[in-house]
Symmetry: C2
Subunit: 479 residues, 2 copies
Amino acid sequence: MQAALDELRQAFAGRLLVDEADKAPFLTDWRRKWTGQALAVAQPDMAADVAAVVRWCARHRVAVVPQGGNTGLSGGATPDTSGRTLVLSLTRLNKVRAIDTINNTLTVEAGVTLQQVQDAAREAGRLFPLSLAAEGTCTIGGNLASNAGGVQVLRYGNARELCLGLEAVTAQGELWDGLRGLRKDNTGYDLRDLFIGSEGTLGVITAAVLKLHPLPAAQVAAFVAVPDPAAALQLLQLAQSRLGAGLTAFELMSDTCIALVEKHVDSARLPLAERSPWYVLLEVSDNVDEAHASAAIEGLLEAALEQELATDAALSATLAQFQALWALREDISESQGAEGRTIKHDIALPISRIADFIANMGEEIAQRWPGERLVVFGHLGDGNLHYNLSPAADRLGPEHRAAFEALEKPINQCVHDAVVAHGGSISAEHGLGVLRRDESARHKSAVELRLMQAVKAALDPHGLMNPGKLLPPNQEHSE
Amino acid sequence: MQAALDELRQAFAGRLLVDEADKAPFLTDWRRKWTGQALAVAQPDMAADVAAVVRWCARHRVAVVPQGGNTGLSGGATPDTSGRTLVLSLTRLNKVRAIDTINNTLTVEAGVTLQQVQDAAREAGRLFPLSLAAEGTCTIGGNLASNAGGVQVLRYGNARELCLGLEAVTAQGELWDGLRGLRKDNTGYDLRDLFIGSEGTLGVITAAVLKLHPLPAAQVAAFVAVPDPAAALQLLQLAQSRLGAGLTAFELMSDTCIALVEKHVDSARLPLAERSPWYVLLEVSDNVDEAHASAAIEGLLEAALEQELATDAALSATLAQFQALWALREDISESQGAEGRTIKHDIALPISRIADFIANMGEEIAQRWPGERLVVFGHLGDGNLHYNLSPAADRLGPEHRAAFEALEKPINQCVHDAVVAHGGSISAEHGLGVLRRDESARHKSAVELRLMQAVKAALDPHGLMNPGKLLPPNQEHSE
């Protein structure tokens, strides 16, 4: 292999890491759930060199694991333990190639972080609305490869809807230039959307044309106490009919979530006089000004209080208050982590099924696993819940750890079966990677699996692109 | 073949047309540009029977031409002249299967007309925003197979963006149930978007879950005189920053277009005191009421007049006026047809390139083909122009017809080469069919063609799904 690695070293500009210490940061995911091995880590500086690396992989039948900011939650960017794969890190493809404020597009390389994308847009007086917790580290290439979601999907869509064109390297090491900045283009199969969300298993995204939106003139948030998820859903409907596209976020969280944030984050406090079993955080973006936005949200809340969909509400009047309200929502995940072990689900449901799902699932879990705490929050406007569990408050000690971990598989199965029975998805925004790969295959129809395998075999006939991710490995070549 | 047809007759419920007179309406496209032959026309009543028909086709290696309302503009639904193909008409799959006003989704079968979809949504107090001239006849299955566009793409997206889930029959005659009504679902390859826009060459769409929007409380239109396309572009930017998602249409048209409408439509008249070389029709949708919408649009127009982006404007104050302003735009295509032969282009450009394109292309055409009239209009907000030509006013007689028709190919080539040089698309919303198939292949990179051929060969290995459409036939099996 040394001769082949020497050939690779000659084949492209950029870094090739072969020392164990240099490779280590690329071999473990950031939650430290998976650790693999790799022949080497290649870090090319430009798309043509990504193609050169992939051509070397094709020639030597070496599998390649594309990696962005390495912040994925499903193990999609971590190599397996064989030590025979190459990690292809895209972080050095970090140029903003072009910005066009008339066409409202931004062309960036795959390794640019999401925050850098947001900043580049804002500097040009535009909004790039994709926003998620890892934005300082995650890369736009990874966001697209996993079709990332986040908090403003309700208004602006997932990563998929924010991308007009792609540049990608095929499994054969060819560079495909699909960097079109067009709103309409019906000249053949939608290769863009095929690569988006394919988790690096069909090719490697090297650049993208992103869609920008006008910067809103003002944003106001409200933290609203609601009696239950059913009322939250009615509030969502009321908000959509009154605010239309002005409603840019609608998040649901239980009181358990907020109590965890208050426990683990010093500055956090409930902005309402009394506790409620459930809360909604909603955000309005406005083209006019702050007063206009506040008037819209006040009108909505008045109607909601009158219709008894809400029992109390706090409105942000300053940027600091806006950020403090959002922090209550954004700090849930870390606060839950600080509490101890977690069992997580990233599920989507038809919005009309959510209240029933929460009620029935809550009962079933309370019955089968009494005492374990449900930590339920998420993007209600998108039908996306992070339906999580923490150990019972009196079982946080290390002596209870193994018992709680043993619950992960049966609870996952129980939740996912109910989700599928309700017409939902077991991975709303985190992708399959290795974490949900087999569980997903268990729920897909034979027709759908066969179609996915046929696409995989067509574009990656030797199975070298991120093997074992998204599709079970033993089925990859069955076509 | 008679025995095989008898077998087919037994294989499914629904109609099987074999008489020439019965088949005839399905063998010619509605513009009467293409006429083909077919073994028979099958009209199943349900998805399971579509699958049965396709299984028969697979068994007998008979090619299948899926057809919806037969209103396509690119010959994508017309069989070839071999007489060996089967036309599969979807119009009898005409059930609205479900409506969910909380999830904001509508599940319909492929043969439901676009207008029936709009009506079903409106009856439930929701908006299905896809809208185009053929909506009374075209089917939602055809709209999705060709990823139709229309007038509100600026705000709501193409057919692609309005579809959450699909049911389709594969080339093997299996029924794929992908009817998910979810905003987020990252569990594998995006098969939905692969079938959408594939023009029946990968499988047959039998049903879809469509995304509904809140019905706006009010809509107001303005007909605005602008000095030139560059000013129209600046007006677009101003409108987007002031109105955000409230701006639901932004159409550009030249004075030549309006003059043709006035000539051929009795009721049509310019709503302004003086003519202008160019006009913009813009539409505002509002969640509050008519007065709120009018105030927003008046504020915009005041600023536009002040900045000299507009020279005059007429605002709709009643529904009749709203419809009359829209009729000026919507009647262009038919008025141009009434004028005589036409040469048409359905192009998209980065919005920032449109003014230059119109200026330069206009000069080149005036120089190379003096006298021929440019009839330029389209969805400026989406970068989509219908860049058409009519014969010079003194060359409308039948004796000039052949000479004008001979210009079609060189003018197409001239326009399309310039479009591609500007990073544009030669088929923005009409698809490739047979009309633009070879022209598109000429402009695609080898990598992109190879990727498309690989997908085609993977999902339709025997090349039986609408062969000769979208991809050149001789390349279909080269993979």
